[in-house]
Amino acid sequence: MHKLNNQLWAVFWTMCIVIAVVIATRLWAMRLLADAVTREHVQATLETVAKREGWFVSDISIRHVQTDSVIVQYRQHVRGRDPKSCYRIPLQTLELLPCTN
């Protein structure tokens, strides 16, 4: 019983480390959002694009923030497999460019 408890503790610490690594990776990709001006700019960009495309803001997730653009994943939440697409949105033109470009 003592051994199993120790193993569960190991599971706990491992889970904490895994979660920390995942969060740190995402935080690093979004580090530019720490700047209030960039944050407001990105927010305005996403709201404008969502309105223009008829998207829900909750279907957009930010993948990476760069100085001149933001990379997002658009995921239509439906029953079954969700259609997903990746776009790079330049903060000046607000075009939707496929991530490969």
């Binding site: 019983m1 003592h2 408890n5 120790n6 569960l8 503790w9 599971v11 706990f12 889970m15 904490c16 979660i19 920390a20 969060i23 740190a24 995402r26 935080l27 979004m30 959002l33 927010q43 309105k51 495309e53 008829g54 998207w55 829900f56 803001v57 909750s58 279907d59 997730s61 930010i62 239509q76 939440h77 439906v78 029953r79 079954g80 497999r81 969700d82 259609p83």
Partner: protein
Amino acid sequence: MLLRVLIFGLLEGFAVLLAELHRYLGVHTDEAKYLINIPYPHPPLVRWILETTDGWQHQEMFWRIVFASLLTQGTWLVWDMARKLHKDQRVTLCGLWIFSGAMLLQAGTLFMPTITAVQTLFLCWMLTRKELLKQWSALIALLWLEMLFTAYQGILFAPLIYVALLRSGITPWKRWSTFLLPIALLVLYTPTNPLTIVATGSVSGMSAGLPIEESVTRVLKLWVIGGSIALSILGLYGMVRSRDYALVLTLMLVTAYIFVGFRSYYAILFTPLLIAGLLSAPKLLKSSAFLLALQIVAGIAIFLYVPFTEMSSARSIGRVLLEAGVHGEILIEGSFGHEWQYLMPGPVRRYRPEFIKDASAIVCLDRCSGIDVNVWQQLRNVSEEVWVKK
């Protein structure tokens, strides 16, 4: 043994009944968020688990039964928590749990406070089992991590978690790191999901314009529903009288949270705390038969009196569109919730005249403009204005 199987069956039957009731009432916007893993407002653990069954036809009903069963079968934990009491008192305490207004109104719904309430009940049970706390200290650590990554309101139960870790006999360094590390992870997680911040801001702003007396009345209403009056009063009195400071502090945190960001389905957060409160002063369970009768009457009265959320027309329209063979994009004009995303047979997009050419159907909850009647035909005998391509 036979009696136990019978009680298990009865509790399960009760859970299925309540789940069926809520299935009939329809999918609430917040439930849809969890069923299809829309990434806000809560952390991802449970909504990710729910999403794994997303493509399954019976997903909604399956999880409604699971959520309801967790609450009704929680009766076994209540039974064990009261193991030192007389049999009549144990039965009464279980009855107080089963017939609390929150249980009758919320078992079968797919809201995160239901899971938080089950986690809290488990925690309160562990606190009554000191030998288990020492043998299985890791369970508290895992429960804490799970509570926080299920829903933000998990943080409200920090005082109880801390007491559990204290009683588990682990070293102070391990105790503090186990207590603080999951909180730190949750704090770090939050900015990675900007929607969470926006949603949390809107929830906390909900009570901002209300007169203070109205906010207090709403909290009191949930407290009454949470314990069906008898348990509400005795549970609170019990925890204060027994000077169970961790329980009192937790109740205060839950109250403050509801005061700031009211949701009618937060009532269930009170119930396990009130059970633990009453258990800490068991002398209050003297006239147990009278208490149980009172609880049953009050619970049923609350169930009949408190109105359920208004049904959305999304399910009936989804069915009509499916029968009409619609599988492509559906445009919706007007204000609508996430249940439309869950119940429509295809992806949903906000209506704009320039999107019409790519759409398969249009639902006008408000007035739509620019629909060409030569291309589109309106469906008859439908509760809303619905158009499909000719």
